[in-house]
Every structure is written in structure tokens, then in C-alpha cells.
Amino acid sequence: MSENRLRKFHAARWDEPVVMELGHPGRRGQTFPEADPAIRKAVGEAAKLIPAGLARKSPPKLPELSEPEVQRHYLHLSQETLGMMGISLFGTCTMKYNARLSEAIAQRPELAEVHPNQPEESLQGILEIIHSFDLILRELSGMDQFIFQAGGGADAAYTHCCITRAYHQAKGQLAQRDEIITSIQAHPCNAATAAAAGFKVVTLQLEENGYPSVAALKAAVSDRTAALLINNPDDMGIYNPDIKEWIRIVHEAGGLCFYDHANFNGVMGKLRARELGFDACMFMLHKTFGAPKGGGGPAVGAYGCSRELAPFLPAPVVALKDGRYRLDHDRPQSTGKIREYWGNVPQVLKAYAWARAMGAEGINEASDLSVLANNYMDEKLGRLRGLTRSNPGSKSWRMEMTRWGLGKLKEETGVGTVDVANRMADYGIDPYWMSHEPWVVPEPFTPEAGEMYSKEDLDEWIAVIAAIVDEAYADPKRVKTAPHAQPIHQIKGAALEDPQAWAMTWRAYRRKHGKGKAGG
């Protein structure tokens, strides 16, 4: 596709009713057999097996549908989901291809129909994969042990906060060490999980270079410092070159250092967390390692740490002993469980498959291509009117993503970043990521090209932005009323925040709005 040809796209628009409105009394989509006559004879009616007063009084008001109706309804909903069918450069999430092979393997009974409490001898296949992948992550990070219990990146940050508690508790210093340091550019989950774990959060602000200064960090650390939670590079594409010095300062004060490796795609194969001095790090298998997002999980925050912290890890840990894989539950200093069982195992399998398909060279080349693609995008976006690159003072090449701002466009046309994102979908492009709170850059957007998308894809994406910018200057109303080619029109936001109007379930909606169609 040439650079300037834009798709004439229109999303599927099924005008699909809510499932609760569908069906007919008595219709069935799934039936179960009656219990065997001998069973019925032995135990009698099911109702008699329910303790007094606990039998349900009236049936749940669920829809009554035949199987094909259910299938068709949800297929319609899938078609009304863009879901990366376009070009999705959703920054901070490292969009990449999710191999169908991995999906097919994960659905096999050797994984799907396996219970985690089966005898270890019957789990040797999956334990081998988990252990082998642990070794791969150790090589990529320099850490000494990984676990996969955390159900996402935020949950891995929380895991670190729990391990931080256990570590300082073992030293008898937990009551004193009640502060966790992070930066305003670190993902909100770092600050939030620290607070949820009971720590006071100290947030460093950005300075001229795009990161907090060593002086600011020095002023923040003390004998109350429990840990530092930090990403590097940040979402602006800026790498903090003082990070080793940071770690030295925090360690000297007695704190632990956690590397939120959400932005690993730009540095994989280039550096190791442990070699920089970090005590622990986290990888997102549903991002960097090729497992699918699923609209927000099942996800895995793979958490790795040094030998010193390993005794505090949540149990179990997969270990290899005498050629046999086992689950080590006997960890007396463990911080306890973060989540039941050992994690989203199918995602670990998919990440392992990705790493094996890539190999060391492939992983190294993927970060090469990601950084090349981002700088290519930067160059081309920089030529467009109304766009400003974050940290304009920083002239160096950026890492794998860059934050851009549409502040100037908004000033000149009234068209802001939400409008542009809405309009992009009209061209079959998945809406981009804007920025985490707070918006340090006005009207932000954060594209991340990754290694998968072709140069032609990137050109198309940029051409769409260019077309929308032109449109913003020529016909801003057209952009501000977007989208025009989507399953639905712009939603009304006011009802979402009004306790009298919001409805998180159909029953609440019926109660508040009667049977009629959605209000605003």
C-alpha cells in the first residue's frame, strides 16, 4: 500500500441487542443428563440434599437461548471488536504477533485438562517448560530465580512489595522502613501496590533531562527507605543513564531496587537487570514475550530476584533435582501466596514458545528493530503540523517508544488526543495509548511500533495521523464528532459517573431506566 492511500474502512455494525433481551422461555443452549436411576434411587431428589432454607426461591433471570443463537450473538460481538485487526501501536503494551501455534498447543488436554494438584510425576511436561523458561529469563536478566504466580505486571509489583515487607521483617526493620520511592513517570501500579502493601509512597518528579536527578533521589532516601520501584527507559523513550548510581544510593541506604521491565522490548539483549545492580525485576509475558493480551489478561508478571531475596518468594518454586522436576513448597521465609496456584500457566507456555522461536539472536534483533522503528516514526511524525515530541530538549535517539503531544493541535483547532484516537478507528487503526495519569505532556499519545509491524504498516499509520491532522485544520467538527464508521457512535459519558444513571448490570439498568433503550 502506498504511503498516501487510506483504507475505506467500515466496522461491522450489528446493532446487537444485549443478551438479556434475547431468547424465549424454555429454549435451551446446553443441557445436562438426569442423574443415573441408581443414583437417584440412592440419594433421592436433589432438593432434599440442600440444607433447610438454602434452596433457591426463584430461578435466575438469565437469557434462554439455543446454542446457535448464543454462538451467533458472541460472534457478532467479536466482529464489533477491532481488537488489533487493524494496526495497533498501543504504547507501553508492546503489541506483537500472538502465534496461533501457541494457542493450539495451549488448548490441548495435556495443558487445558490438567489439575495443579495432580501428583508431580504427572506434571513433568509442564514443570519442565516452566523451569526451562525460568532459565531463559535468568539469562535475560541475570536474576537467580523466577516465579509466575503474579496475574499481571501490577501484581508483580505487588509481589515485590510483599517480598520487600518479608525481607525487612526478617531483619527486624519493617516498622522503620515504611517508604517506597518511585517516579511520576513509573507506571501508576508501582505507587498503588506500594500503598496497598502499607508503604508510604515518595514520588520523584521529572527534571530537565526527562528523569529525576540524583540529587532528588539522595534527598528522598533515608533509613526509612524500603525499596525503589522504577522503570527504565520510561514511556517517553528516555533512558536514565544514572540508574547504576541510583541503585548504589538506595542500596547504601538499605533499600531494595526493583526494575519494572515493562519497557523491556527496547533493551532486551542489550543489558541485564542484575548487572545494573537491581535486586529484582518483572517481565510481562503478555506483552514482551508474545502471549496475547486477551483484552486484559489472563496475564503474567514474571517476577525474578536475586539469591538473597529468593527465600522470601511466594511458594511454590519449580525446581529440578536429580532429573526430576518438583514443586518446592517448603519455604519457611516465604511471604505467602500472591494468588492461588502457580500462575497463568498457559501464558508461560506461550512465552516459552516465543522465546524458543526467537532464540538469542532473534530477541536481540527484535529490540534493534523496535528501536529503529520508533525512531523512524519519530522522524516522520516530527514533520507533521500540530505535533510535539516530549522532552524537546533531548536530541538523542529515543528507545522503543516516544510520547508525543497534540497540545498545539488542540490550541489551534480544538481537536485533542481523544478526538484523534476516535477518528483513527474510522481508518481501521486501533486507537492508540495516550498516557498514564498524570498527563505530563498535554494531549499525549504514545505509539510503540515494536518489531512485528512492517515499514508499510508504519507508513500507513503515520499517513492516517497526517490525514486526521489535515482534517482537524480543515473540518475540526468532523474529527470531534468521530467515530463515524464504528459499531456505535460516540458514547455519552455523563451517565457513567451519575449514581442515579450508571448501571453495571442489566438488572440495575432495568430498575433505573425501565425497559426502554439506553438513556444518556
Binding site: 444485549v18 442423574a35 438469565l62 437469557p63 490438567v114 495443579p116 504427572s122 505467602g336 522503528a373
Partner: protein, 459 residues
């Protein structure tokens, strides 16, 4: 990788005016770069080779398809309808990341339908998108109750899944932390396995933020006095949090009807494969009162209108109160969870409908009770709480003189995964195991288990 061809790389480098890719990494100081080159296992470049490797490795697993499985304890073998697998395998759902309420409208609607249908099963008006697990849901709910009441103590049953309890303890923070919530375990009625109400009444006070109960409990028992417990909690100004298995709710009274304020529980039983424990998820629900809504940690999807009259849209409500909106001032934290499974749950509930849940509930009750009775007849084997359970029950082997470990080993040799060993978790229950029977087993399966146990314990 589409851009790995050297002519494309050169064209891109030319466009930006860089001499090499290496140059682009100029921000990283040399001293930060890899000390030793990356050494990883051999690349499996072709799909054929990779497939072979993965299948060969995984084939060392035994499955609950080939073996007879009686393990449950938080991860249960239920039938997963084929349509559920098709829908969650759809690439649009599988690879969606976030989008907008318009671009990913269908997924948002499916999420709303998850909440709407679960709300009907629970008889509750607010349902949040699921969190990581039942234990995580209980943890968040207890923290909600603590913020609602300004109190810092939760009362819960001592006979609880130790894994779940461990998760809850982490959410309640150690004593050194400022938000610490005391976790107080209450004993059980020796006959029913339900909560000891005498102890509850003696222990509850104006310090109590919440009473947390489960029905069915970890050991399978339905809590016959749930409504009474909720009334006691309410009188003390505490919230009642009730953990329930939604798959039971076609036949069992829902938490909304029993006076619970907040309901939590597992989502794996609603159409998600066991996935070696990687299928678990947890729901949180409550009444539609602003004081509850303001305390949710995660994503609430509300129905709303659009600029087109009569058109539905679905988007987040009250999202500013999450960690995305308020960082450390937000409610606990949120992030990626198990939202794809919420779609599996939605499809599953649509397929079953009210009649499906009734049939399923009845079948499970009858089969599980049949199994308990058959096993109880084996010499030396005893069912500890022979009445009032749903799909799980405790089988005690003390009378056989054999340990559960030994029994299970012998069963495994016969292609049977026996119930979960409880002897380390609850020594006071002796050599006991937690058995699970659902619609996935048949009468023949249960009889085969009984025969095997007879043989194994009789030796």
C-alpha cells in the same frame, strides 16, 4: 519480523539519517551494556520444529481426560461447552488490548453481559470485571469493608483454603504496616462444618469491619446459617462478605437473597478449563449503593447511550478512583487481570440459562452425594460431614490405617487422581482428603473409584 530484511533496515536508517542501528542505542552508557553475550537454547525457527518440541514435552503430563479425576479444592473439572472455546479463541477478543468504547464495542458489551448474568445468579446489582482469583477477590472485598467501616478486623472461618487464606493475609498486611487488618479465625460446628455462631457472637465487636464466610466452604459445606450470620454482622455494624461458587446458584440461594453485602467467588467454574490452575479468576459484587461503588478497586463497565438515540454503548464507570486515575490514592490497585475469561463466563451463562444451571446443580448434588455414600460404606473410610455439601466432601481414612499419601499413590497407579490431601493443612481432621464430584464424572466412574479404594485400603 517484517523489517529484518537488510534493504528495509537500510531504507529506514537512511530516512532518519543514522549510520547504524547500534548508534540508536546511544542513550545507554557502555558500562550498562551486556557483560556476557546472551546464551539461550537453540532457536526453533520453523513452526514444525517448535510444534514437535512443545508437544513432545507436554506429552509427559498426565491429564484428567485420560485419568479419573477427583481433585477440586479451588480448581474444578467442569464441562466446557465447545462454543465457549470458539468464542474465547476468536482473534478479535484474544488480541484486543484496550481500544475505545466504539472500536472495541463488542468486547465491552460482552463484559457487561458477564456482569449482568452473574448479577442475576448472585441477585446483586453491581459486578466488577474479575480480579486474579477468589482469594484476591476476598482480599479486595475485606479492604473495601475496612475502608467502609474504618475498622481493622475481619472474622473468617478457620476451615478455609490455606492458599486463599495466605492470599488474604497478604492483602491484610503484616502488623507493622499502617493499614494492617487483623485476621481472626473462627471455629466450626462439628456436625455441619458451618461457622460456630457462639464463637462469632462472642468475638464480633465494634472493631469488626467484616465477617467473611463461604458457601460452599473449602471443604464443600453449604453455610446453612448464612442469613443469621449476616444479621449478626449487621447488628455489629460490620459488612458481610460471602464467598460462593456461582455454578451452585441454579439451586442454592444466592448471596443477595441471604443478606450479604459483598459477594466474591471463583469464575473458573463458569466455562474455563482448569489450565493447570491457570484458569482461575475472582468476582466481586455488591448492591448498587454509591458507598460500595466508590470502594471498588477495578473496572466497572456501565451501559450508557450514544449520540445516536436508542443506541447502547458500554464504558467504564468510576474509573478515576482506580490506581490508573489516582495512583497511590486509588482503591488498592488494578491492571490486567483475567478479562478474556469474563467473556468465557458470559458465553457459558448464556448457554446454560436458568434451566441449565438448575439441571447442572441438581446433577452435581446427586452425584456428589452418591459418591459420598458409596465411599462411606468402605470399611475404615468415613465421610466427615456427610450432609449439606455441594460438590466436595471430606473423606477420612483413619480407620483404614493408611495415609492419604499412600492411598493416592496407589490410586494414581490405577489411573485415578484421588482427592486433595488435607492431612498437613488440617491435622485435626486426621488422614483426610477433599474429594470433588461434578457433572464431569459418571456413575461408572464413581463406582470404579469405590472399587479401587476398597482394594487399596483393604490391603
Amino acid at each position: 519480523m517484517a523489517n529484518s530484511l537488510s534493504d528495509i533496515k537500510q531504507a529506514m536508517l537512511r530516512e532518519i539519517g543514522a549510520g547504524s542501528i547500534e548508534e540508536l542505542f546511544e542513550q545507554i552508557p557502555v558500562a550498562h551494556r551486556l557483560k556476557a553475550p546472551l546464551k539461550l537454547p537453540r532457536q526453533l525457527k520453523s513452526e514444525a520444529e517448535l510444534k514437535r518440541h512443545l508437544i513432545t514435552t507436554l506429552s509427559r503430563n498426565e491429564t484428567c481426560e485420560k485419568n479419573l479425576n477427583f481433585l477440586g479444592a479451588g480448581c474444578w473439572q467442569h464441562h466446557v461447552p465447545a462454543v465457549v472455546d470458539e468464542i474465547v479463541g476468536r482473534t478479535e477478543f484474544l488480541t484486543s488490548v484496550w481500544g475505545s468504547p466504539q472500536s472495541d464495542h463488542g468486547r465491552n458489551q460482552a463484559w457487561f453481559e458477564y456482569a449482568s448474568q452473574l448479577g442475576e445468579l448472585l441477585e446483586m446489582d453491581v459486578v466488577q470485571l474479575p480480579v486474579y482469583s477468589w482469594g484476591c477477590a476476598a482480599g479486595h472485598a475485606i479492604r473495601m469493608a475496612s475502608r467502609l467501616t474504618g475498622r481493622h478486623e475481619v472474622l473468617l472461618p478457620r476451615l478455609i483454603d490455606p492458599e486463599r487464606l495466605s492470599v488474604i493475609r497478604n492483602y491484610c498486611e503484616p502488623v507493622e504496616m499502617r493499614g494492617h487488618i487483623d485476621v481472626v479465625a473462627l471455629g466450626h460446628d462439628r456436625k455441619t462444618g458451618g461457622l460456630d455462631l457462639k464463637e462469632l457472637k462472642a468475638r464480633i465487636s465494634n472493631r469488626t469491619a467484616a465477617v467473611y464466610i463461604e458457601s460452599p466452604s473449602y471443604l464443600g459445606q453449604l453455610e446453612g446459617r448464612a442469613a443469621e450470620i449476616a444479621a449478626i454482622a449487621r447488628a455489629a455494624g460490620a459488612e458481610t462478605i460471602m464467598g460462593v461458587d456461582p455454578v451452585s446458584l441454579g439451586v442454592i440461594r444466592p448471596p443477595g437473597d441471604l443478606g450479604a453485602d459483598i459477594a466474591v467467588g471463583p469464575t473458573q467454574s463458569l466455562g474455563v478449563h482448569m489450565n493447570c490452575g491457570g484458569g482461575v479468576g475472582g468476582f466481586i459484587a455488591s448492591r448498587d449503593e454509591e458507598r460500595y461503588v466508590r470502594q471498588y478497586n477495578g473496572f466497572l463497565v456501565s451501559i450508557t447511550g450514544t449520540s445516536e438515540p436508542g443506541e447502547y454503548g458500554f464504558s467504564l464507570s468510576s474509573s478515576h478512583q482506580t490506581s490508573y486515575g489516582m495512583r497511590e490514592e486509588g482503591r488498592d490497585w488494578t491492571g490486567n487481570s483475567v478479562y478474556l475469561w469474563a467473556i468465557a463466563n458470559a458465553v457459558y451463562m448464556s448457554l446454560l440459562g436458568p434451566e441449565g444451571f438448575r439441571e447442572l446443580g441438581e446433577l452435581i448434588l446427586q452425584q456428589a452425594h452418591y459418591a459420598a455414600r458409596v465411599l462411606d460404606r468402605i470399611k475404615g473410610v468415613k465421610i466427615l460431614f456427610p450432609q449439606g455439601f455441594f460438590k466436595e466432601f471430606v473423606v477420612n481414612f483413619d480407620g483404614t490405617g493408611k495415609t492419604v499419601a499412600r492411598v493416592n499413590k496407589a490410586l494414581a497407579r490405577r489411573g485415578i487422581f484421588g482427592g486433595k490431601d488435607l492431612s498437613r493443612e488440617f491435622p485435626e481432621l486426621g488422614q483426610s482428603a477433599l474429594y470433588c464430584v461434578t457433572e464431569a464424572q459418571t456413575k461408572e466412574d464413581i463406582d470404579r473409584l469405590a472399587a479401587a479404594l476398597k482394594e487399596v485400603t483393604g490391603k
